[in-house]
Structure formats: C-alpha cells, structure tokens
Assembly symmetry: D2
Homo-oligomer: 309 residues x 4
C-alpha cells in the first residue's frame, strides 16, 4: 500500500492502542503498523511514510502519554484530527487450561499494576508481580512460559494463543484512555458543534501570574478549558510549557479570539488542531461570546471609528 | 453668526470655563455663549444651535463635573473632541480701593471654599463666608455691594469692575480642572500618538466581579486606565454605570480590541471619543499589544485555519 | 448644649440635608447646626465642637458629594456610623397667592436644574432660570421678591413663608440622595447582618491592572462592591484614590480578609466605617466565604503546619 | 533492621531512582528496598513497613511520574519531606568485550528511547530497538544474552556485570529527573528560606474560570507557581485535580494565606508538604507579601475594629 493508506500506532500488536485504532471507520482499508514508541509512530508521519498515527494522550494504561504531549510540542509540527476514547479493563490471560490456583507469577505493563492491585490482593494475594515492557509483551512472555499469567486487553488473547481466565478487571470505575489520530498540518475538520481545540504554549516570563494571564485569555471569552498540563520544556527543571485543550473550534469566534490573545502574550504557541469531541457534549456558550456577539462588537467599533457609534 | 461657528460653555462669563474656552485656537473666530448649566450647554449642541460646548469634567472648582458625566452618558449621543487642562488658582476680588482689613464678608462657589480655606484661616480668620451660585456670581454680588470680597479667577475682575487684592490663592499644589470640548458624533480626530479614549458602560449583572471582568478587558490588552468613575444610573441607589478614560486611540488595535470586549460583555457601552491628551504624555505599550502584535496574531490564526499554522 | 449633643449638617436650613437629619431618632434631642459647607460641617466634628455631622455623599441635589468624599479621604480621620437615604422630589415654591401663569423667573441649585428640566419644558416653557447657591437660598430669594418661584424641598416652604404651588416634581423616577452621619473614629456599630463597609485607598503604582489587583481582593472573597468612585488625590491630574463601599461588616471574616489584602497591596488605605445599610438588603454570601469557611480554612492550615492536615 | 530505618524506592536496583536515593546523607544507614512500582513503594510507607519512599515525580526516564502524582492525591495521606534532582544521562552497556560495530539489538525503558534517539541515528543507525520494563531490566536482558546492548545509568554496569561502551548519552541538554522522599504526615521540616510547597486540589465546579480563581489565590499573594499539572480524578475523562508546587513554606504568611484561600474555594485540597528546594534558589518576595506586611495588615484591621484604624 502507499503511505497515504498507512497508519502507524503505538505497538506492539495486542495493546489497547491497537484496539483503539480498529474503532476508526477507515481502519479496515488502512495498513496498520505497530511502532516501538510514540516518537517512532509520529516520526513515520513526519517523514511521509504514513498518513496518520494513533497514540494515547491521556490516562493511558500503556504509558506514552507524556511522550505524546512532548512530541506534539517539539520537532516538526503535527496536528490532531480525531480523538478516540476507549474504556479500559483488563483480562487475566493464561495459557489454555491454567487454573487460578496454579498462578504463582503475573506480569503486565507497570502502569497496569495499580489498576489491578485491589483485584490481585483479593483473588491472588500471594502471586509475584514482574513488570513487562507493554501489556502485549507480558502476554507474549506468558505464551513463552516465562510467567503464569498476564494482565492485558482481552483482545490480546487470540494474538498470543492465550485464554482470558477472568475478564473486565479494573479497580477504578470508568477507567478510560484517550487516543488521538495525528497527521501533518492541514485545514482542520469542519466544526461539528461539539469540538475541542488543542494548543501548547510557552510562557514569556516566569512571574507570578504569567500563566494566569494566558488562562484569562480563555476565561474572558467564556471558553472552557478541558485539560491543562504543564510539561518541562527540556530547558531545565522549572521551565514549562502548557498543553491545553479547550471547548470549541478555531472557527468559533470566541476560540479564534482567545488564540490570538495567546499568540500575542506567550513566548510561543503551537496550534495542535480543532476536532470533534468523542463525547459529543455541546459546550455552554456564555452570553456575549457567540459568533454573533463578536460580529456585533466588531461592527460597533467600526461604526465608532466612523462617528456612527 | 451661524450655529456652525457657535460654541456654548458653562457660564456665566468670568468663570474658569470661560478662561478655558478662550485657550482654544479657534475661540477667536467663534461666538462663545455662556449657558446656565452643563445640560443647557450640551443641549444647544444636540439641538444644532451650536457646533460645540466646553464643559468641565474633572476636579472642577465650578461644579458641573458629575452633571457633565451624567449628560454624556444619557440622552442623545455626543462625543468629546478635545480636552483643556487649566491650572486653578483664585484671586480675592474686591471693589477698587478695598483693603484687606476692611473685609468682613466673602463669597464664592461652594466648591471654591475648601480650596481657599487654609488661606482664609491664616489671613482673614474672622470673615463670614456665604456661598454663591458660581464664582462669577460671587464677583457680581461684590460689585453690587452685597459682599466685601469674592474668590474667583483673576480674569473675572475686569468683567465686574473689581480688582484682585490677592492673586494665586490655592491651598492644594497643582490644582487643575479638566474641560472637554463636546460635539455631535463624527469621525474622531486622527491619532496623534498621545491620545485618550472615553467610554461609559453599564454592567450586565451586579455580581462580585462583574466590574472586574470589564476592567480586565482593558488590562489584558495592556491598556492603561486613566480615570474611572461610577455614576448612579438613575435607576435607583446601587445601580451604576462607569465612566472610564483609557490611554490610546480607538484606531490603536489594543484599544479597539478592548472596546469590542466591553461591547460584548456589558449591558450597554457608549463611545465618547478618542482625542489628544492635554499632557501629550506617550503611553507605555507593553510587549504583545502593539498594532503589529495584533496583526501578527490575526495572521497566525488565519494560517492555522488553513492548516499552515 | 454640650458638644456631645450637637450635630452639624450641610446647610442652610430648609435643604434636603436638614430633612435627612430630622429622620434620625436622636434628632429631637440634639442641637442641629447648619454649616456653610461640607468641610465646615466635618471640621466641627474634628475640632470636638460637635459629636456628628450629616452630609450628602451620593446623588445629591444639593452638591457636596465630591466634597464629602474628598474630605473623608483627607485630613484628620473620621468614620461613618449611619446612612440615611431620602427620596428626592421638588416643590415649586412661590409667595402665597402667586399663580402658575404669573411665573416669569425661577431659581434653584444648579444641580436641581436637570432634575426638573422636563417638567419646566412642559409647564413653564418660557420662564428664565437663574442659579442659586442652594435650594434653600433660592427659596429665600423668592421670599425677598427677587424671583417668582424656586425649586426646593416642600419642607422649605414654612421656613421662608412660601407655599408649594406644585409638589412632587422629579424628572427621574426613584431619585434619591444618600447622606452619611460622620463622627470621630471609634468602634463601629455591631453587625446587623445587612451592613456596608467603606474605605478609600490609593494605588501603589499606576500600571495597567493596579486597580484590578485591589478590586480582586474583594471579588476573590465574594465581597460585592456597591459603589466605586475615583477621586483626584490633589497630586495632579491623573493621580487618583478610590472610594469604595462593599457589602458586609469588618467583623465578617470575608470583609476583614479583603481589607487586609487592600492594606498590603495599596499605597495607603483608610477605613471609613462599617454601618447598617439603609435598604436592609441581605447580601448573598458565596460558598467558601462564610465566617465558618474562613475558620475551617485557618484550622486546616494550622493542622497542616502540625502534620495533621 | 526496624521499619524506621527502612526506605523503599522504585526499583529494580540499578535504575536512576536507586542512584538518587543513594545521594541522601542517611542512605548509608538505611535499608534500601527496591519495589516493583510506585504504589508498592508508597504503600510500604502507608503500612508502616518503611519510614520513607523515594520515587520519581518529574521528567522521569523511568516512568512512574504520573503514578507518583496520582498516588499522592489518592488513598491515605502522605507527605513530601525532601526532593532530589539528578542529571540524567545514559550509558550504552554491553557484555565485556563487545565492540560498537557488533551491536545489532538494543533495549531500554520505552521512555529512554526518545532521549537517545538522535545518538542512535548517528552511531548505530541499523540496530533494532526493543523495549524493556525498566532500564535495569534491559541491562539484565543484556547480561542474559538476549540483547547486545542496553541504555541505562552507568551505575547499573557493575550490578549486571556489564561495561559502559559509551557514556554520557543524552539527546537533550540539561536532562534531569526530580525525585521526592515521601513519608507519613508529620510536622514539615523547618523553613530554610528556599522552600517549596506542594498541594493537590479539586475544583468545585467545572466552569470557565474555576481554575483561574484558585490560581489567583497564589498570584494575588505574589506566590510563584513552579509546577502545575492536571490529573484525571478517576471520575471519568474531563474530571481533573491539579497538582501544584509553589515557592515558599507553609510557615510563610503569604503561602499560608494562599492555602487558606485554596481550602475555602476548592472542593478538596490536600497538603503534600513544605520542603527545601533542591536548587536552593531564593524566591522573589513582592512588596506587600512579606510576613511583616501580613502582620501589619492584620494589626491594622484589628485596630479598625477597635476604632483606632
């Protein structure tokens, strides 16, 4: 297949990220290529070897989240075109025939461990846990006989010739992971009415209130922030950039206006895309912040300039 | 003369307002008409009987200040085109030949009294003060023999056949009054680099922070407020509008942008003009708030919308 | 009578201020002394010659408002102990027997003029208006035969042997004037649940946002501002102090906390008193700003310091 | 040894976290126990089996950072008593005698990969990378002959009988990881003048500006934020708590005052400790925010309450 029909994702096969990419309508007609890391998945897009990359960005059970945020902030620009939210629950995968009482060793990604801890304490209080490089790797190590059981997505069982002894294990209710489909910069998808907009910005100065001034650019236009995360810039401890998702689309006047404010007042800002929200929840638009309110205000100022205010 | 060559002012003749209007370059070629009150002076402009009106707006020794602010906020729209700042000092006017020790009664506008109080206590501790309707009226009452002396501008002496027994009386250092030249709405004078912009706005709601939100519209664009005054709206005690002067001209992008914010977030806003500052002091323009910064930000958002951010 | 039983007020007799002072329960047992000006009324209190002074502070039809604000901000400290709100309406006072159609000249305080303008235009379109130093002075001048009629409070008729030809004249609905009873500093009256607190503060620096920072001290504690007025400090045009009334009593934790913030962040702040609101309207107290919330927060921080957070 | 002399850390042996814990003065006299995960390390402290736990909290090359933040926010309360900042650079570890040109496969923690990517592209462009569960695990797999080389801290060489073929590999300049020493709640260490204070708070409501209001509590007291991170609360995507470090010690009045504000205005706040900054950089204390300024303000309000303001 050509690069245009190729998507990369954070591998290996059998992880939650693969499950997420398979929920995309176009997945059936794409070549899906697992990559060793988030940077590798994204670099394939940057290099033109793939049209898109699906990577976890929030609350992952596979790791990779901060790598995603950092990669989107640095290097050649990329953009987010879609998000996928996947409920997370684990299966306890074993070689066919293994019984619960025979399990002495379990494995899984380190990030999975706290999410199954309470289940383990209750049902397998005496097993030994050892970490694997990914949940899928853990499954492979069970296949190879190195461990008795692995925590992984139930979908990984088939890949590694294992069976799910227990399903739907998750200590926290409503555990979810959010993934994003990333591509090279292009015109964002058209507004749907339930969109979000992602940026990353760097503060001009490190004074009390510098961050506040930038967040104010959102708040003063009634633009709700959905996520804010500080990330070290790599310029030393204490130097941060901020990764922020807000409600709305860059074609919404209140969002465009807030972004202009960010651009003026920050050291640097990178637009990471406007794209449909997975939860399709409509934003509350405050009085004075509709597109019409912005048009009316701009017209009024024009009239004032002409002495017809 | 035609209405176009007629200016009204807060009378009567012989007050500081007349002195102020005579500082205007065009005063020599205008018919200058004293009016009984600020509303009367402004109504003559509204009615087309005069091209402009000069009225005190700040720190007056003649009264009329709140009347001016209220009149500009209500009724048919007017605009400010120029400001005049006049140092204020009083002369003690007497009938020719009167000596200081003969003075038993003095008069003047009530607002003048606190400004000459310390002088009176030192030099005429035993005189009786009675109020007059204006400083000029006080001078007239001295001419008529009703009082021995009046505090007024030295320029009033000639009008009323009096002489200035003492000059340059003012308890406060740097006492000044600011006057504005008001006309019917038209295109504001071109930016000079040292301008100010006046508006009056009404809060949408009376919640803690409603005013703050509007002042934030100035501050977030680095636009310095020069004066803020709350005025009752006439809708009952506790209902206010705000009269605000800020640095800059409506053609400055940061000012236009702030005004748009005010328009969106307030119940009502009235543009009262952009005009040269009397003190010709240049504003400090903060990084990220120059016209160029606004253009760059608008261009950037446009490019983001096109996928070229 | 002794100074302790003496109240001064902004005179002369027959003005709205006299009407206001007579509404005080203790007025019957006090010697009420009209003074020539607000400063004179307040100085009598400062000098120990009177226990209190009643002066207009807001929306006056007699002038004196800015004088009151400025006097409370400067000189020896004074405090507000009570407020009186008086509905304002004018009577047209004439010498007994005068008929409406005989009136050719009217007088009144300049501030009264705009409040009766519409009435005049409808009922006496051809009369000549001349200003008087106070509404009461206007009445006196009618008594003396100098004018045909005066606008003043109806209560002034008796004093000057006049009769009210027309009553209840006021262009604006709900016209009111607020007066304050001022005394030397002492412990404020106990909280009533519907109080207000007055201060005046001076900004440390004149930068964009300096005022905002101080107003934020109110807003962040949910303390509603009721009035804000900028006043020139007398240090030159462009230098202001701010006179602010807010809901609540200094013994309310949220108010005390806000005042501490003002004290820290302003160049100077003067406490002008906590006293019952005339309108007895209870404030909305936002979650997290009750006295209990402040106590809980202080306790929590103490426990954190002890490692029991 | 007794639990009191036992410290746990995020294992296994040979990772950067072990290197960090060995920089503590008391490390020589403590039993240092590697744990399989951050939760396991912290639970040992909660359960009383260890006196402290050293875990990475920022910019880790071992993962575990968000686990640390989430663990400190949830479950039984813990506190931070110290921080350790370690410069991060990798060594390429091989079995003794291996030459660079013989290396066909390399391994390491997934988070290490982006940090050595540029080095790999230049010096070993054709090797195959496979991920390990930790850098130390990678070293063990090289020891076992499964891979030719591993990226890990140079200190890991001895543990696994390997040698460092190349040292000081790090794509980013100034790469550092910050670790914290965590214990059960107790009185924080005394202020040193260069301290930081950590909290985690939950927003009361998810409205535009809710976060802003809380950050304002820091900014309005001149308290500089050093780190802010949003973390999902586990109540579903879109629900966050905020992990914030600020300059100063809870015994600094400005910090205590800001914490009180947070406590009042947030749904919940957890104090995570005041402890010395690793960089010993003194904070800038803004005018009006010194301990003395707070005392003066409190005294002033007390005097006002007594009528001696």
């Amino acid at each position: 297949m050509s690069p245009a029909s190729r998507y990369t994702y954070l591998g290996p096969e059998g992880t939650f990220t693969e499950a997420a990419i398979r929920t995309l309508p176009e997945a059936a007609t794409r070549e899906l290529i697992p990559m060793v890391s988030v940077p590798a998945a994204l670099d394939a897009v940057r290099g033109g070897e793939a049209a898109g990359a699906l990577v976890p960005i929030e609350n992952s059970v596979e790791g990779g989240v901060t790598a995603t945020i950092d990669e989107l902030a640095a290097g050649e620009a990329l953009m987010i075109y879609r998000e996928v939210v996947l409920p997370i629950s684990f299966a306890l995968l074993v070689r066919p025939g293994t019984r619960l009482e025979e399990i002495k060793t379990v494995t899984g990604h380190p990030v999975a461990q706290p999410q199954v801890r309470r289940w383990l304490a209750r049902h397998l209080p005496n097993v030994t846990w050892e970490s694997a490089a990914s949940n899928a790797d853990g499954a492979r190590l069970v296949q190879e006989g190195r461990y008795d059981a692995a925590f992984a997505g139930e979908f990984a069982a088939a890949t590694y010739g294992l069976e799910a002894l227990v399903s739907d294990i998750h200590d926290a209710e409503n555990a979810e992971t959010r993934f994003v489909l990333v591509g090279r910069p292009a015109r964002p998808p058209a507004p749907t009415g339930t969109d979000k907009t992602s940026v990353v910005f760097w503060l001009t100065e490190n004074h009390p209130g510098a961050l506040l001034d930038l967040l104010q650019e959102y708040a003063s236009r009634g633009v709700n922030m959905m996520r804010i995360e500080s990330r070290p810039t790599g310029e030393g401890i204490g130097q941060y950039c901020f990764s922020v998702d807000c409600e709305g689309h860059i074609q919404d006047r209140r969002v465009a206006d807030a972004l202009m404010g960010l651009q003026r007042l920050s050291r640097k800002v990178r637009f990471l895309g406007s794209y449909p929200r997975a939860d399709r929840q409509a934003p509350t638009v405050r009085a004075g912040t509709t597109d019409e309110a912005f048009s009316t205000a701009a017209d009024w100022v024009m009239r004032c300039m002409d002495g017809r205010g």
